[in-house]
């Protein structure tokens, strides 16, 4: 039986056809993956199915009956559930409260919390998704928060589950857990729509795969009959080379150095416990580690967001003691953040205005107090072309761009700032293969130009492919230093988990 079918669905945004006559159907109990470049229209399509957007044209069938989905409530009534790219949880609520919110068990007119907790426990046992029903949601790791989202959706009786890039925020272990869950749900007869940029994951979990490109359906393939290369080619329209060439660049001067750095996190807990390393011009130093082992605190200290408790940092051999972010920027530090929405861009600002933030005090973008928006627009137009930022109107707000295009905008801005040291923190998070390839290319160009690069990533393949030296972080320490040719993903993975720390890897 077809659990879901869309026929000729289109969605028009002003000046932008995000979905162009898309048709497909999903069998009950199937895991159906949707892949496509950034901005291909995946999220838009899911939002249509889930009632957040109304389609400009086309029809939707659920269980082979035509339905009109005008709102999320309609979608929930039709037993659909969506786990969004950005979680919709209330951090201050307990897990139980978050799961039952909007549909609480009641005793009379009162919220029956005890019963709610019991229900949540039963549910979590039944589908073997372990959560602490009484924990405060905001304190939980991302992977667990996602479980809370899934439980919330299941509790409302969802039969069709939509996952929009669920793995983008997960560590490899968490991803593995999620896949176990998905399989279990599949066994229970649930239908799953799954979006991901990681083709390896798609090949692992999906039964069939639909490829979207620029709003159009390129084709639907059986997992059995395809491979990663073919998918990438369908997505991008050409062969994609994720092979990273080895570049030998003479190593230059020390751009950044830190010594015995101790940094506390926002809760006052010492998250960085004495870290020392240096980054030289023309080299990429990769920092591998499971999320939450001090990487964020390291970056915060480096960009002047927090003050180290002790230890020293130097940028271009000048002490960074008590300097401001503005001074660091002036001294030549660029920063690509993984947190595009909060740290990277001012979402309501246009592409034009975002493109120069940080340089807006320099000529030609301003003279004295006066902004020269014509020059800004000229610059932004140039960058939009150079980096192929789509849809390409510099007066679009950054918030209306798809994730990949937002990332390109950040890259365009940071790489055009005068700099000799680049911090790249998960620079390909949420990016499609084409955009990832593009980012890798840019990073290598930077290296060739003699810039010093600190690459922080959770993707081991990225770390191994790009880095000249690799530092492994675990629990606030650098527990090993090695080079790509002397190690493997497996060895790094073990180190990252703190296995065999006492026998530090000698490089």
């Amino acid at each position: 039986m077809k659990a879901l079918e869309v026929r000729e669905v289109s969605k028009m945004f002003p000046g932008n056809l995000a979905n162009d006559r898309i048709s497909f159907s999903v069998e009950k109990g199937e895991i159906f993956a949707i892949v496509g470049e950034n901005g291909a229209g995946k999220t838009t399509l899911m939002n249509i199915i889930y009632g957040i957007y109304t389609p400009s044209a086309g029809t939707i069938f659920v269980n082979e009956k035509e339905v009109k989905i005008h709102s999320v409530e309609d979608a929930i009534r039709l037993r659909m559930g969506m786990v969004h790219q950005e979680f919709m949880l209330i951090p201050r609520f307990s897990v139980t409260e978050n799961i039952v919110v909007g549909d609480e068990p009641r005793k009379g007119i009162f919220f029956d919390y005890t019963r709610a907790v019991r229900e949540v426990r039963e549910l979590s046992e039944r589908v073997s998704l372990t959560v602490d029903a009484q924990a405060t949601t905001g304190d939980l790791p991302v992977g667990i928060q996602q479980r809370v989202e899934i439980l919330k959706v299941l509790r409302r009786g969802a039969e069709i589950l939509i996952f929009d890039e669920p793995t983008a925020v997960l560590t490899p272990e968490e991803t593995a857990d999620l896949f176990v869950t998905m399989r279990k749900l599949q066994e229970e007869g649930k239908t799953i729509l799954f979006i991901s940029h990681k083709l390896k994951e798609v090949m692992e979990i999906a039964d069939r795969i639909a490829v979207l490109r620029r709003g159009k359906l390129q084709g639907i393939v059986n997992k059995k009959d395809t491979n990663e290369e073919e998918l990438a080619r369908m997505m991008v329209g050409r062969n994609v080379v994720l092979e990273i060439p080895k570049l030998d660049v003479p190593v230059g001067d020390v751009a950044f150095a830190c010594h015995d750095l101790h940094v506390k996190n926002s809760r006052g807990y010492e998250a960085l416990k004495g870290v020392s390393f240096e980054v030289r011009g023309g080299e990429i130093v990769g920092v591998a580690g499971v999320q939450g082992n001090g990487q964020d605190e390291l970056v915060n200290a480096m960009i002047g967001f927090s003050r180290p408790v002790s230890g020293s940092m130097e940028l271009n051999r000048k002490s960074m003691h008590m300097v401001t972010t503005a001074q660091l920027r002036k001294e030549g530090m660029s920063y690509i953040t993984e947190d595009r929405a909060r740290r990277g861009l001012v979402m309501p600002y246009t592409v034009r205005d975002n493109a120069i933030m940080g340089q807006h005090l320099n000529k030609p973008f301003s003279r004295g107090l006066r902004m020269d928006y014509e020059k800004v627009a000229e610059f932004a137009e140039g960058k939009v072309k150079e980096y192929d930022i789509r849809p390409g109107d510099i007066y679009d707000t950054a918030g209306s761009l798809s994730g990949g295009n937002q990332q390109k905008l950040i890259l365009a801005r940071e790489l055009s700032l005068p700099h000799n040291f680049l911090i790249a923190s998960q620079p390909t998070r949420g990016l499609d293969v084409g955009a990832t390839e593009f980012v890798y290319g840019k990073l290598l160009e930077e290296k060739k130009a003699g810039k010093a690069i600190l690459l922080i990533s959770l993707e081991l393949s990225e770390i191994l492919g790009l880095s000249d030296r690799i530092l492994v972080m675990f629990d606030g320490h650098i527990v090993g230093e090695t080079t790509p040719d002397k190690t493997t993903e497996e060895a790094l993975g073990l180190l990252m988990l703190g296995v065999g720390i006492d026998r530090k890897v000698q490089s």
Partner: protein, 406 residues
């Protein structure tokens, strides 16, 4: 930070952050206009329900508001409208500018009065008054230069003082974490009591007078020029238009404005994006509060230099609060603030004569309140407007705009 969250939620409700995304969207103008129209229609119903004739009430309200030329009393009403509006626009700009920076400056009221008292002081203080008096006498037919200078001194000192009063709240916020709303409310009361219970009844009152008479009168050279004899219309309306232009310029043409808006747009999520680009948030916040305070104080100087010529003992609060209404109806845009200030000025001018005809002034307050209410229901108003506008288009094409806010 909680207060920026609060302010941003507040602003979102009034549509100020939310639909600015597309600055070319005609709905930005339509929504406030429709809100006012709806308020006026509902106002009629309320008046009718109270057993009065709504048409007669509106005839008086608008006939005597100064908006519609004609009749012998029109010049006076027109003058009153502009004099009132000038002050409302000043406080409206003050609040609008702070909104743009993601701050809720409830302190416009206090800053207004600080500006007023300081302008009074420099208006009458002997060393200053005598200097300009002597200059006026010496210049003969060029005496207006002395008037211009004295007025300017009073206005500038008033604005600096009001700005400083605002900056204190900004400083307390960035350095001590004192919530802007709470800080400015506190400073309002401090200013108000310092002025009315001490300065105006003590050190600034002529010794021979009774305590009910207010401060010294300002020198003639400090008074604003009258520009439409015989009414008391003065240059304040022109000055406030310049201030509105300056505010617009600051926001949309300068590096400071670029930074202020970036801060305001991200205030609810911690302002990390502008901070990571090296923007000095703390300094800008204090600056915004300074500019905001100076604009409110400008209104206060109008109150003294254009209307009262002394700080009267009968002054009542309200100009700063009205500024909030004006900024909200004006959608925190300088041009909107001008129009909204004129609207409120007209309503208040007309209300006086409506009162003469035994229709309580409260009705105009109710209409103002309802206009703000409809603006607060922005999302709904937009939704229906979009529906109406797109009605003739294909039913299957939903307005994209309404979804951006969903």
């Amino acid at each position: 930070m909680n207060e920026s969250n609060f302010t941003n939620k507040f602003l979102k409700v009034f549509g100020i952050e939310n639909h600015r995304h597309n600055r070319r969207d005609p709905l930005n103008i339509l929504v406030p206009l429709v809100s006012i129209a709806l308020a006026l229609i509902l106002g009629m119903i309320v008046i009718a329900a109270s057993g009065r004739n709504p048409f007669r009430a509106y005839a008086l309200l608008f006939g005597d508001s100064g908006l519609i030329p004609g009749g012998s009393s029109w010049p006076r009403e027109f003058a009153e409208l502009l004099i009132k509006s000038a002050m409302y626009i000043a406080t409206g700009l003050s609040i609008a500018l702070a909104f743009k920076g993601g701050l809720f400056n409830i302190g416009a009221e206090g800053q207004f009065w600080v500006g007023a008292i300081v302008a009074t002081f420099f208006g009458y203080w002997t060393p200053v008054a005598h200097t300009f008096g002597a200059m006026y006498a010496a210049l003969g037919s060029l005496g207006w230069i002395a008037q211009l200078l004295h007025g300017a001194v009073c206005i500038i000192m008033g604005m600096l003082a009001g700005g400083a009063w605002g900056a204190v709240a900004g400083y307390l916020y960035v350095k001590r974490g004192v919530n802007i709303v709470i800080g400015t409310i506190m400073l309002n009361w401090i200013a108000w009591f310092l002025i009315t219970s001490w300065l105006v009844t003590g050190p600034m009152t002529p010794p021979s007078q009774t305590f009910t008479s207010g401060t010294f009168y300002i020198a003639d050279t400090a008074k604003l020029f009258r520009i439409m004899m015989p009414t008391r219309l003065n240059t304040s309306i022109l000055l406030v238009l310049i201030a509105a232009y300056a505010t617009w310029f600051l926001l949309y043409k300068t590096t400071i404005g670029y930074e202020i808006r970036a801060i305001g747009y991200t205030a609810n999520i911690g302002m990390d994006a502008p901070r990571a680009q090296g923007i000095n948030i703390n300094r800008r916040v204090v600056q915004v509060m300074f500019f905001s305070g100076a604009l409110a104080a400008l209104g206060g100087t109008f109150f003294i230099l254009g209307m009262q010529y002394q700080f009267p003992n009968t002054a009542t609060m309200g100009y700063g609060w009205t500024g909030i209404t004006v900024a909200l109806i004006g959608q925190a845009e300088p041009i909107g603030v001008i129009l909204a200030g004129l609207f409120i000025g007209a309503m208040r001018t007309g209300a006086t004569s409506m009162q003469v005809a035994n229709i309580p002034k409260t009705f105009s307050d109710i209409i103002e309140g309802m206009a703000v209410g409809f603006i607060a229901m922005q999302v709904a108003v937009r939704y229906y407007l979009v529906k109406i506008i797109h009605h003739r288009r294909a039913r299957t094409t939903p307005p994209a705009d309404q979804e951006a806010t969903a």
